[in-house]
Symmetry: D2
Subunit: 355 residues, 4 copies
């Protein structure tokens, strides 16, 4: 124990620490090394009915073009100091493109994707390959590929962008380059070239037989996702294995060259709860963002509970327990940072007792 006589000396020592650019562990350890994860991010819900009008207003008032690059509104987690970070690692934004508008071409090291909860008419052009965007589709956009968008329809379109911007900002690994101001094509094919090469179950082109770090398949269509989920629930009803837990079907989007996650830092999944289903609470290291695709239900994250409906977005911070419940059925898109934790040996999952 420090004696009274030592107090002045100790005070001086602490001042000296600060001057020398030193910080003692013993005063910081509780914050730095908690007994379990204590993320500053908080559980939070954004209503689609609130954010979509904001995007529409921005569509009228804010021009689109070089420099600003995208008309995107990012979810800012209230625990993260006003930064446009849904979680410490993840960016989630609503993006909006007016009829005939064009989002200029660029590329960046950030991994990205789009998920479409409603609407259609925009094509994202990736390395020259135009990829249609329609309700229920998931479009991965791995780092360092050239991409822009064009709206080929006479209606505006809004969708969700997910990226690892906060993580790469934190890590200091971001590179960014401008491409042409115009996407250079107004083609609007129903299937992209990538789907024609890679969209056949269990088959790969013999021209590309080595693993690639991110998926070469640029669109995962709703018809396949929906069918896979229906198949799981049907298998369950026949007494066969397939669902995660009773009434809970789920698929993970994968890189067909490895069977692993679509991108090195981002995991994406689609979950379907049959009517009258409640999931067992689970918590894991790492954070996720969910968007309700269809249906309604109750969501419980840590000590928060919300009733959610189509388009609503919510955040599950690290080590906060999540449970979902629905009377009439609930479809959810999910993305998270689990690959970071798995690849670095920091992934833990705990299934809790029912509450």
């Amino acid at each position: 124990m420090t004696t009274d006589a030592e107090v002045p000396e100790l005070d001086a020592l602490y001042r000296e620490f600060a001057q020398q650019g030193l910080v003692p562990l013993w005063t910081e350890i509780g914050d730095l090394m908690p007994h379990q994860p204590a993320s500053p991010a908080v559980p939070h819900l954004w209503r689609w009915s609130s954010i979509l009008p904001m995007a529409e207003q921005a569509g009228r008032l804010v021009p689109m073009g070089r420099g600003g690059e995208r008309r995107a509104l990012a979810l800012a987690n209230p625990g993260l100091g006003g930064r446009p970070f849904a979680t410490p690692t993840l960016w989630a934004a609503i993006q909006y493109l007016n009829p005939a508008e064009n989002a200029p071409v660029h590329r960046h090291t950030q991994n990205a994707f789009r998920f479409i909860v409603e609407g259609e008419g925009v094509w994202t052009v990736v390395n020259g390959d135009p990829v249609a965007m329609r309700r229920g589709d998931f479009l991965p956009q791995a780092g360092w590929n050239w991409h822009g968008h064009h709206n080929a329809s006479d209606r505006p379109m809004a969708w969700i962008d997910g990226l690892d911007i906060p993580f790469q900002h934190y890590a200091g690994s971001t590179f960014f380059e401008f491409g042409p101001d115009d996407v250079g094509t107004r083609e609007s094919p129903s299937r992209s070239r990538s789907e024609r090469l890679w969209g056949h179950p269990g088959l790969r082109p013999v021209t590309q037989v080595t693993p690639s770090p991110a998926t070469p398949l640029l669109a995962y269509r709703w018809e396949h996702t929906d069918r896979a989920l229906r198949d799981q629930l049907a298998l369950e009803s026949e007494g066969a294995a397939g669902t995660v837990e009773p009434g809970h079907a789920a698929v993970r989007y994968t890189n067909p060259t490895t069977g692993g996650d679509v991108m090195p830092t981002i995991r994406t999944e689609f979950h379907r709860l049959a009517p009258d289903t409640t999931t067992r609470p689970v918590r894991e290291t790492g954070s996720s963002v969910y968007q309700v695709f269809e249906g309604t239900g109750e969501v419980s994250v840590g000590t928060h509970t919300w009733t959610v409906t189509r388009g609503d977005l919510f955040v599950v911070p690290s080590w906060q327990a999540l449970s979902l419940s629905t009377d009439r059925g609930l479809d959810l898109f999910r993305f998270g940072d689990a690959p970071i934790f798995e690849r670095l040996g920091q992934h833990r999952v705990e299934h809790l007792e029912d509450h």
Copy 2:
């Protein structure tokens, strides 16, 4: 140099070697360590029009059941001493099942598959999951899974089995167990449970997210294979990448949990030549068996050349050059042992000049 005086002594030494169980390298090196691969297997062709009647006759005369297990006729490469080996590593056989017949359940460490060049009506039941067999389908059957077949139709059916029997026989790694005499189900669903879980492009069930050594997908349907090949040729005609070489489309069947080959020892592919296509000669270490699925063409393997048509099977031994040519189009199923060579660091491929 050995002197005349030494000859008797040398003769005695060689006799002593034999007695002691020793063999000198210097007399064997030419055979053992040739300057390039010199397989005893020879290029060879089996006509479907010849082997199918044999199978039909066996169908009338040879009963099916426990002990014999399968009514299968194996291709015996003329260079391999009358053994039922298509190549040193690969077994290829025509199997035949009469109406209402049942092939008893067993399992073995050998990796296997079925490919169907014509007919339908048989279900192979893998660990209780009935899998339909129809023209153009590829059905992998990885080692150590219980399986039997039943013919649910009123017509006999013949198909091709491929296995790594010769390799495992050579290596001394074979285990085999009998299961029930009857497959235990006469269900005949259009889609197997495995397809309902795994047959969705780029999606995997969240219940099974770790790699498995062999594919969990038990049927690769013709409609997908055909569409993938048509897509590749269409992309080529649009000026986009996709085909192996002009007019030559090809897909590899893959394990969706890894993106790699369907089984640890066997690679399977489907090749399509557009009309008026000739492929560039290529040779590689390891051997392959091809079956013509549709069309006609000229096949050149080493110094052999054949005109081939539907159902014909031919063998490409290690390091023999293969070239294919067709006027009106040619569809080919291929299986080979390339995974053995790749996993052991012995795979070489050489593209030769056009002949």
Copy 3:
């Protein structure tokens, strides 16, 4: 372009964004997505001659024990807001243990190591295995292993701790548990059990033949590091390959079960510059901390230049160019976060022209 008339409406929209927890990309993109990495961390130097006396004073004034756990002073990068973070991902601290003192047992998910620039007499006890600490030794301490220390000598000892505390704090992946207050042994063997099992070049015990995520070897002794570096420089002088560049020898500490980095998040290396050597400037994504082990030299990081000597520590932030120069020879220990970047596909290295 926004018209004057629209300005009030736009202002209202921005206020509404803030209320709804939204942030526009177009005002943030310059900071969030810079054209190349722009880490808030700055190049910085801590003098051993300044920090060692601080540690000694703490040794007199600050008790050691449960709760505070360790008498450690962390380097606080001036760009990181006073937090005890050497870089965004890395913790570097000087730890100090008085004669006969004991640092209590705990375990945590953070990966750690110790490097000893001078002194000896302390044993770190890892899962019951006492590991001697001596000048030049590197002692990895992978996450979730029980460990404590005891000073078996009659002199205090100081050394450097490196951990991924900032990264795991950021990611929200930290778990921490207390063990016994006392390390439970005062054994002081010259070689640990881990070294007796794993410290033989190219050999592993047949009892442990599967890869482990972190190295099972708990001490990398100076005699081996020094000899490896002398060998590289001798090979260079004989005209053989071995050094990174002329006069620049370097070894990486590896996990003998994989050949990869010792821990999932931390890379460690030792670099030796022969007299009259200047290294070519290089920059890479990710950050490093260096400690001078012996010799003197000039260090240039970005626009900073320092003359360094034994014990001095400096930081190289992401994408800042580093060059080293010495007249009389320079030995440097280095640790960094490169495995994070490599495993997540974000690693880039650029060799610059000589300045």
Copy 4:
């Protein structure tokens, strides 16, 4: 069942099969698909006291040079038809080099190694790097590296070569090239360049940080092997883990770039039994060759039992149980083909009850 009336028809059918190059499965299945591995190779012992004099005689009578390449006498397993195959996959030979003799340079795809049970004085020169050969040393020689030998001493030297010649001969993957007739150097350094780069425990040169398919370390010295084994037995005597079973120490030679086997097809280990030790019987798929390095003991392989002493070589075929026993201690070098079986998913090990 076949009726009497059908017998002639069936006979005709079998003749037709043979003509058409077909073999029925049902007559062959017992041999081809046994219920457990049934290797044609048999357990066998070669006495060093018998084969060394043969090699010495060959040293007097058989010249060394281009074409014959090596004065090597291969062990021919009595079950393998007089071929120079110790097992279906492995070549084991005694090689002999007279004073001042030179074995010409060549390279081949076969993986090889040398193990030295007695003597010294020869250097094997691998890609220009002269590697000393001394009692107890293990020298891997991965495929497709140039190599020759020279005897720098005034005494002949004999040693053991192991290769995967039978496997590559079977697989048809052999390539072979002549290099210069003379090794081109008579240097005789105590340590090779490869050891100076790679022979430091847990350290790798920063110049070579990617995995290589085979070990870059060209000599594993007896002093390290011996020390590792002594350490394991000492740990056991202290009550710590380390030995395979009581009194049985064992190390595996590994590739420091991966932690895995030294070569893609060959596993090598060194086993030491303390006095009064009997090992528990074990059988596994794949085959091994053992050479007694020191001591005496009883060896039981399947139904064979031999008393063995220094230099004796014996073979363990696939799935034959092995047990070792010694009164005064026994040191054994072992090599086998386990990597083939592991990489192809065919490895099984079974520990049997004590006999």
